[in-house]
Amino acid sequence: MNDSLLVVLIASGVAYGTPLLFAALGELLAERSGVLNLGVEGMMLVGAVMGFWTVERVHANTGLTLALAIVIAAVAGTVMATIHAFLVITLRANQIVSGLALTIFAGAVGLSSYLGNNLKLADVPAAHSFHTLLPKGMQNLPVVGPILFGQNILVYASWLCVIAVGLYLSRTRPGLNVRAVGESPAAADTMGINVTAYRYAHTLAGGAFAGIAGATITLAITPQWVDGITYGAGWIAIALVIFAFWRPELCLVGAYFFGALQALAPQLQARNISLGPTVLWSNSLPYVMTVLVLVVVSSGTARRRLGAPAALGVAYVREEH
């Protein structure tokens, strides 16, 4: 029963969807504060390479090394996001241009490949990687076993993050403030909320999440490093935020859906089922998503209809003369 296509698809959807979920949560935080960051792909790749580098270089026990790797990846993502934050919040540069530049600068054939190749990370298996956490007995339970219990700790951590982000935005004072900053910075400013600080904090948090998302790929899903290992996951994550109407719980659903899509082609192949050129469309998905994201974020009407934060992508200038 646990080998049935549906169960396998859902289980691997959860696994493959986790990096998407982390990245989408981060992007959601940034966008809720009004900062659009199209640099997710680049931040993820830098996180991926730095996380992998940590497990190759640090010689401590597995748990400690992996924890450190996640922290390093988060820091790497944050550093990347700082560049974007400085450009668009302090210098008020165009957010779309700056985000694209970040992805080009940090992404495949950019900073991340330089780091990976220079640190000689290619073609080596990960010294440590994330494995399933719970006892085999639980994993073998029908249906729920592989889906819920056969996952690594990052999956469970991502669930906690979804709950935390959801409660943060709906139930806490800073959460209310950040929503106000994203919707109407002028109103927020009048109420004494520091628009700049909130935007910086959430853009950087978005970077940390993207870094972790990258490390999830190199340390849990395919424990190795190759150039451009995210294969457009960053773009799917940004699209996810839009499809999820900027709500964390819907990000989770969407992430697992796209995760399952990724798993679909190899699973069908393994079972000798032919559904036409499945590989073609599942491989082209990231590019389709990229186009879609760019269309939606650059069309004001589309954004308003979907319920984007009203001030998304708009720099804030206090109207002092």
Partner: protein
């Protein structure tokens, strides 16, 4: 406030202003547009910093670095453009500014605030549903939320900047009652306005500002509207009064039949409007902002495509949503948003004047720049545009001169229909008079004029006929001198027919 001076590049907005308001009074700040009222209030609320001078609150000198400092000290302002988060509920908006009660805790529960909102609403006759989201509320209700917000912060000084601009006459009456009650509790209410009868109706004292200086502070009971007007303007005013004229039995030049059009959000904003304007007639469309007036004007001008219905000029049907066709048919349009829609701010004055006619006057693909400048110089002369020259960027012109540029451009060619949307908003008195004289001149030349305005005085002064627009529909005003009837229709009610007997 003592000796407040604030300079902006090129102007002294406040020049040694002394202003004082006591607890328990409604103090009106009266002045024309550009007299420095708003600047003064922005200094008082920490949005601007005074270049010179001192602010005292209950005898203590204070220095507000930001609006937040002012709010913490109990000075709150209701802005002309509300500072509310549209997608938040009323309760969430109140929590946002709160630093004492619910807002100090990390975890918030907007529900706890809701009962407080209801309680405050009852006490001050400001009923609003705390669950409602701001975008669902009418403008009048949104203003109530702003006032509630100030009261929720326990404001000691409440400043309202032109609060009645967005209200119907009746809503204004209710607001005045509320303001008196707030003042009766010992709070100070500062009421900024340029409308004499409102100032007379609500305030205890009036301070008159002119060109950045305080002219006088008087007790309201000692002042008459005439004395206030001459203080405000510096000389006596003659009101433009239009007498009803016989237009004969001429047919309509502009004929609008059952026109529908969508607003920016996709919902119908103009709902089945039929309207006819005869040659030489000024039809005034009154109404509170946001009832579809802008959309109606844009639809007739061809900027916004109609979804249904027909627009005819001299009996000829216009292609819908075609600006060029509308212009060629003789429709001229003075849009509401001068700087954004009326002109291209970064182009020169000369180029802006040519925006309608460059096709005819250019030589193939090339513009005739010299001729363009010559034409501009002629227009500067003819329309008395105060500008350094034809090459000045439109963005650098003042509102009144900008409007003259728009008028100079639109008055070209055979003008059969003129649509003027809020043509005098934000202009000073002399510019208003100029614009009015152009409108009258156009009507005198036999143009059918459609004037859309929120300013009742303007409408009363210029109209041959008044219609009121409410929620996308028109109703004809029977008695064009009855402010009461216009007011009722602006609120969406039809006056009872009982007194017609």
């Amino acid at each position: 406030m003592r000796e407040i001076t604030k300079r902006f590049p090129g102007v002294v907005a406040n020049d040694g202003v002394d202003f004082e308001a006591a607890g328990g009074e409604v103090h009106a700040l009266l002045g024309e547009n550009g007299a420095g009222k708003t600047t003064l209030s922005h200094i008082l609320t920490g949005l601007y910093h005074a270049d010179e001078g001192q602010i005292f609150l209950s005898g203590e000198p204070v220095a507000f670095q930001s609006p937040r400092d002012a709010i913490d000290a109990g000075v709150c302002m209701v802005h002309q453009h509300f500072r509310l988060v549209e997608r938040f509920t009323v309760a969430e908006n109140l929590v946002l500014g709160d630093r004492r009660g619910a807002g100090r805790r990390f975890r918030i529960d907007p529900r706890a605030v809701e009962s407080q909102v209801r309680e405050l609403g009852r006490r001050y006759h400001l009923p609003v549903d705390p669950h409602a989201r701001i975008w669902q509320l009418s403008v009048g209700e949104q203003q109530r939320v702003e006032i509630l917000n100030a009261l929720y912060q326990d404001a000691r000084v409440l400043i309202l900047d032109e609060p009645t601009a967005v209200l119907t006459p009746e809503e204004s009456e209710t607001l005045f009652t509320t303001l008196r009650e707030i003042a009766a509790e010992g709070r100070t209410v500062i009421f900024i306005s340029h409308k004499l009868h409102e100032v007379k109706a609500v305030s205890d004292r009036v301070t008159v500002l002119r060109a950045g200086k305080v002219i006088a502070t008087v007790r309201t009971t000692d002042a008459t509207p005439q004395s206030l007007a001459s203080l405000m303007i510096g000389h006596d005013v003659e009101a433009t009064q239009r007498t009803a004229r016989d237009l004969g039995g001429e047919g309509a030049v502009l004929e609008v039949r059952d026109v529908w059009a969508d607003g920016d959000r996709g919902a119908p904003a103009v709902k089945g409007i039929s309207l006819a304007v005869r040659a030489g007639e000024i039809v005034a469309v009154a109404g509170v902002a946001g009832n579809g007036q802008r959309e109606l004007a844009e639809t007739i001008a061809g900027v916004r495509p109609s979804t249904k219905g027909a627009i005819r000029v001299d009996g000829r049907l216009l292609k819908r949503g075609d600006v060029r066709a509308a212009f060629d048919a003789g429709i001229r349009y003075v849009p509401e948003d001068r700087l954004g829609t009326g002109v291209s701010p970064s182009l020169s004055l000369a180029m802006n004047l040519e925006l309608r006619s460059y096709r005819e006057s250019s030589l193939g693909p090339f513009l005739r720049l010299r001729r363009m400048r010559a034409n501009a110089e002629k227009a500067i002369e003819e329309f008395d545009i105060r500008a350094p020259g034809p090459d000045v960027q439109a963005a650098n012109l003042s509102g009144g001169n900008l409007q003259k540029v728009v008028i100079a451009r639109e008055f070209s060619g055979e003008m059969k229909v003129l649509i003027a949307a809020s043509p005098t908003r934000g202009l000073d008195v002399s510019a208003v008079a100029t614009v009015h004289s152009y409108l009258l001149q156009a009507a005198g030349r036999g143009t059918a004029v459609l004037l859309l305005s929120e300013d009742l005085d303007e409408i009363l002064a210029l109209n041959d006929r008044i219609v009121v627009m409410y929620e996308g529909e028109l109703s004809e005003v029977v008695d064009r001198e009855s402010i009461e009837e216009i007011g009722l229709r602006m609120a969406g009610e039809t006056p009872g027919s009982s007194d017609s007997a």
